[in-house]
Amino acid sequence: MANLEGLETHKHLKDAFAEEAVTAYRYLYFAKIADIEGQPDVAQLFRDLAEGGICNAHGSLDFLRTEGDPLTGAPIGQTDRNLHASLLAESTEFSELYPDMAAVAHAEGFPDVASWFETLTKLKRAHVQLLREAIARLERGQGPEEGGE
């Protein structure tokens, strides 16, 4: 495929990926509520649609895989690249994205929302650590599972 860099289609693939991913997780959320309301048929419909949505999101990612990570622009494809791109994304979320969101929520008078973003910030810190460890293992030539004693 020709290079997509800088073209509308590149942006559209990223948009389509995000749209379908958001749609799928929205449907899974709706399915739970339908279950609780005692509407299993609707719940199943939402679950089926979500399954399709996830497949569709991955379809756009199939194109984007050779172009770079839709979130960070970093190269993705093989596992070592995917780990580095994930580390980059989680690091940004930990150090900039969620702390900034928390600050804005405080400023706008929503302490509970701010606390939510702060809680996510801390989780992202743990994720960064996990990804760093996985990358180190990979670079030492070990599999992701150390297993055994």
């Binding site: 008078g109 929503f110 509970d112 606390s115 809680t119 801390k122």
Partner: protein, 659 residues
Amino acid sequence: MSHTDTTPTSGANGSYDASSITVLPGLEAVRKNPSMYIGSTDQEGLHRLVYEVVDNSIDESLAGHCSHIHVIIDSDGHCSVEDDGRGIPVDEHLEMGCPACQVVLTTLHAGGKFDQGSYFRSAGIHGVGISCVNALSTTLELDIWRANGHWTQRYEQGNPVTNLERKHASKRRGTRVRFLPDPSIFDTTEFSHAVLARRLEELAFLHPGIHIQFDDLRQGTSDVFQYDSGILGFIARLNAERTPLHTPPMSIVHKGGDLEIDLALQWTTAYGEEISSYVNSINTVWGGTHVNGLKRALTRSINAYAAKAGLLKADNGERIATFDILEGLTCVMSVRMVEPRFEGQTKTRLTSRGVRDVVDDLVTAQLDAILGADAALARVVVGRALDASRARLAARRASDRARYTARDIHVSDEVYQKQFGIRSATWHKSAVWIANEDLLAEHAKAFEMPEGARLLDVCCGSGVVGNSFSDRVSEKIGLDITPEMVKLAGERLDKVVQGTVYDIPFPEASFDIVCTREVLHLLPNPGKPVSEIFRVLKPGGQFVVGQILPFSELDGPWMYRVFKKKQPLIFNMFQEEDFRQMLLGAGFVDLKMTEYNLWESIDVWIDTHETTSLHRHEIRDLFHNAPAEARAVHPFEILPSGEIRDLWRWCIFSVRKPE
């Protein structure tokens, strides 16, 4: 053991002899992969062995041939189940060339229940049968009284080690199966008295008249379960601790046809719902199509009544949602049907198609008639649902308002007064931790002040924390925003003042010690109350504060969602480092922390007006689908009954105001 294809043989004229035993493929696989057949090899799987044998006796009872079941747990770990049924057939099975009972004991899915001629609506239709029990037992002794004789046979790990032997003549009839679960299969071979007793009692309620004796020789107890009251008695048992809104419970019974229903419903003043559902005596913990049908019927019928009686606001299209109708409902539903289909081998959810609509129609018709005939009852039941529906909408508006006013320094006092005022009525029952003596003792242990100190308990609730310091302090003063709590705390503390922790109504340096517990997470800008506490403490004074915290950053977001759904007033999901920084940031020094882990049933904790029915369900779902990273650090357990027990990490901090 030979493999034999499914060959339905018919028990002619409803007789129960060797010809009515149907043979399906063999059971070598059971020992190789036990979880596939009994769900798991933990204690739940172990108990399933007992259930399988008891279910056989229940089947005999349903067929009208058995009235007494006797279960014994020996002190050496054997379990024996004896009944006074017809006895498993001992005559030669033509096809297999051995006694029919041996076919039943050694062949997977062999037994009368696989042929509709012998048993109608049998418990174990797609059950694993007694052969699995045999396969998973070190030894199994079979005693049969039948055909004027007492017959015995012995098995080891599923294989016969003796031939079926007629010991002597006997007029008795019945079957006894005595087995020792194989410790090389099960994680534990220790039967739980409580779990077995609960199940046997449940069976006695579901089968009125049957006499079940349970002897546990390990602890020297003997219990007899026999109830003529059926599921109405079951409801009374379930609601023993609750306040019913109407007596007797509603009863809906449908006999005949392909599907029989026995249903009892009673609403109480509780907030949670408890629906115990059974299909052919099997507890469908996760409900299924029968329960969905019931929920639809309740929604249809109650909305139809409310509309007809003009109780709904027609102009805004008001309609009572299912979960508002279920609020406070205790219900036992027993369904009998031919060939039910379940999800998974442990049979916890009914998936039979078509059942939902049949149940819906049958229940709706009877419920319409009941409500139509008893206006007082209808007012109670429909009124309850309407209240729940309107309260939920009001709560949503209140939390919207709380959000709006959060732009100011804190949420309006009114919101806290309303929430905790309602809860004050059952304060000590609204969560186990509130009056837990070990937890209170942990707080008391932190006390470092000289005797005769003056104490302030802020946001004191019922004053139990302040009271835990009783023997060390000269004066205990409480502070709370809610008039009901001020009154309640008056029973434990010397004096209680109504006021806000954002502006503590005492001068600087008034107290030697200040305590509080599980409060700061409910307050926007928690640094302000902490600095107020600092202000009213004398130099050198101590602040003792208990707080539930996540085990680590990994369970933080998950716990945030659980807590926020339980209590909309949560503004901070502190983690340990935040809490430490907040205390030290206010100027406190000498920080010490002890940790106390406390198991809490979430059923108690979420059964309050603060938690809407939708949120209660969502909280359960969060536990059932907790992310792996949260599960890795945060212990909780889901019991076979569906009850969820969570381990709470209580952190008790002690800090001092510098001299």
